[in-house]
Symmetry: C3
Subunit: 343 residues, 3 copies
């Protein structure tokens, strides 16, 4: 399937929502990410090629809401491909503090870049940005809306372990009402066949009804639980744990609520002992106690692998959006030219 078309939206090659994606596009991206990971590995000697893929392309990464790891992941990846990157974070927004509109901010950054990566505090802000942007825009998280690149790196991590996403049983644990990560990943899973999702959360943090209806229509089998029972634990292929987000609880009463809920589910070695041998434990990080450190050495713990994969998936995505044509054969051809040997 041609890379030229898969990310097309009515407004251009923007990556705003997982809903834009078809299964084939996701699989193509995963193949590309795997290739990037392989080329990044210094032992394979292909880093020099990677370093030139986006040579001379300018990027601006704008984070209205700071996020060290996501912004570092995007910016380092873009630089690694030879891009010219300005990483703008919260504190520098003098224009916005002077009262500038989001649209003007977008058009301003368009002047200095071929690609715009943006995180915003408001759901829907990225769609608004894409309306006026003259360059592709990638959503790096918009409030309680979506976080498509997180979903893609999560899916890629499952693909690496299980070979594919069909037939998987995912257990989501934690704050499912505010977690955009969970929302985006659930949407992504709905593109695949025979997927089963179990939601484990207290009532006030359960998965929103609207999204559940949507997933049901897409054929996803869904169940809700208020606690992480032995039977469920013994059945899931993926246990996806999220942080109860303190920053979403505003006011004193809400803070008390937060204190009660924050350790509602804690994954420790005892919990892991009841899970399947070939399952994986995921978390978008940062964690604040939901998974104990003792679990880190468990071979099923995959949260740092997720983060590393984010680096590769975002490189692959930036290259695809900028129409760098890296099909398998194109990469092979390059390798042959540069290294003088077959791969």
């Amino acid at each position: 399937m041609a890379l030229e078309t898969i990310y097309d939206t009515p407004r251009g090659k923007h990556v705003i929502s997982i809903d834009q994606w078809r299964r084939e596009a996701v699989e193509t991206l995963f193949d590309q990410a795997q290739r990037v990971a392989w080329m990044y590995n210094e032992q394979n000697g292909m880093r020099p090629i990677l370093l030139d893929w986006l040579r001379g392309k300018a990027m601006v990464d704008v984070f209205f809401e700071p996020s060290t790891r996501t912004s570092t992941s995007f910016a380092q990846g873009e630089r690694f491909l030879g891009g010219i990157v300005e990483n703008v974070t919260g504190v520098k927004f003098s224009s916005v503090s002077k009262g500038e509109s989001l649209k003007d901010t977008v058009r301003a950054f368009n002047c200095y870049s071929d690609l715009l990566v943006m995180r915003h505090t408001k759901a829907g802000a990225l769609a608004e940005a894409a309306e006026v942007s003259r360059t592709p825009v990638i959503n790096a998280g918009d409030g309680t809306g979506e976080h498509p690149t997180q979903a893609l790196l999560d899916g890629f991590t499952m693909k690496q372990r299980f070979g594919g996403l069909d037939g998987l049983h995912i257990g989501f644990v934690g704050d499912l009402v505010n977690g955009r990560t969970v929302h985006s990943l659930a949407r992504l899973m709905s593109l695949f066949d025979d997927v089963k999702i179990s939601y484990v959360a207290p009532d006030q943090l359960q998965m929103p009804k609207g999204l559940r209806s949507k997933l049901e229509a897409a054929g996803v089998e869904q169940s809700r639980y208020s606690r992480l029972g032995k039977k469920l634990l013994g059945d899931v292929d993926v246990l996806y744990v999220t942080r109860i987000q303190k920053e979403r609880f505003e006011g004193k009463k809400a803070q008390n609520e937060y204190e009660k809920l924050k350790h509602y589910f804690v994954i420790d070695s005892k919990v892991m002992a009841r899970a399947k041998d070939d399952m994986i434990l995921m978390h978008p990080l940062p964690r604040v106690g939901e998974i104990t450190e003792a679990v880190d050495d468990d071979k099923r713990a995959s949260y740092f692998k997720q983060m590393r994969n984010g680096f590769f998936v975002r490189m692959a995505l930036a290259a695809a959006v900028l129409e760098r044509p890296f099909t398998v054969s194109a990469v092979r051809d390059e390798m042959r030219v540069q290294s003088g040997k077959m791969v």
Copy 2:
């Protein structure tokens, strides 16, 4: 005219004030900026050459007062030419908060760079910096003082539209007392022949007398208005609108004053209908309502073009200050060597 000499000041090749510039130097810079713009355009295939122009030159951009778009414009441009750039903004100034003098800060950054770009809150700070700096210094705005690179990009935008700056009639609208942008641009215009400037502002925001006298001595025809009348509107080649700067009104009384003045002049489609067909509408941005969004689609609206031109003008300036000898023939020679074809 030799590039080696035009930016020379008694202290070196610093760019502190528009008053340092002669007409010939401005025109040479405009030619260079046009060349940069052409080479930046990917369709012309010359980006790779541009990417090597300042390869291995180190730059530090220091913004004591944050300014997202100006700092991004400088830093991305410098990186695009192959420079090694540290972009230091307000929050990181640990040394200054420890009580360090401006002179020591300058000498510190001299250790890590071949070029220093600086914005400061205090008028005159850049001249002070240039006194001790062992590398060229470029003024990116010093308080209510000057903003020479903004004036140069503004002039370049006029040059693109009108072929030259002689004989133009500029109408300045808004806060003319605090706006360093207006001050620097008016100084620049005075280098050209038969220039006419009309100032449109309430009394308390009118152009300072000292600067007006200076321009008069240079042969500029000047008039003052308190409102933007039909006749004036129908005569100007350039309508240059500025924001009433909220941050210059301190205290409660001043804030009330600000609220009264901020929409004193609003340029909307009705206003534009009375302006000439071949005029241009300019604004240094950000805007906060002085120009309505409906005007953006008017072909005369040139404010985003200004911003884009800032990118090119600053690249051209950095290269010139660092004595990268890019005359027309030098660029042609490079192109021939690298691409094997005549241009």
Copy 3:
């Protein structure tokens, strides 16, 4: 002596404390730094080689406590060697503010880098970071703990002036109890022969007893003074002045104490007149009055040279830690290959 081994610690090639270093390793690093300085000098035409030394290596510089000059020095140096650098400073720590542990932060940055440079507010934090890091870690200052790269650049500055560090008499002046710079440098000096150290400070800011005992065991001759007397001044080879650190005095009473002490020792031209002709005056900067500006023109004033040397020493260190094998002969070979001439 092989570069491959000298920085090895039980946990890997981390640079956490001066105590890890042996004299031979320090001398090898000084030789490398000298070579970097020579190659950086544009007149020698070797910058292009330097620019490729760490090409394709990714680095993250994390400053929990902001420090403009140290972070700029590291980041610019790493970029100059071709590295891909993310410079993370205080304000961006969204993950940490969400409650993330230091270990998780380290493992997160490991995902995007081949080298981690870190400054932390807490003594011992870097040793903790090194415990979990999968890449080398360089200590850029940990609270009141150590600042090994400052000691190395200080030592390198003495080496440039005196040819070596054996037999030198150093006078430390200022805050000797809180100054990690002084502590690290004193440890470094103890690796050399016949070193004499004189401490000049009020009682409450004198050198800690523990460290003095350690130095005594290493054979360093030490003396304490409460004022900078004529005889001492006439004998020291190096006068090393430090700032009384305001940020270490918390509370109103402590602040009063600070005001009394801050100008306890001020080095002016009169003081310098009593010092030896061939001594050097050093200061880690920033200064806030401890050395008057009039002294800057004295040929013995070496504080800006120290800063410049920091740039070179940190480049040499990053290259060494990442096992870039730049022995004298390797550099010569490269030069021959690239420039086609003998050096």
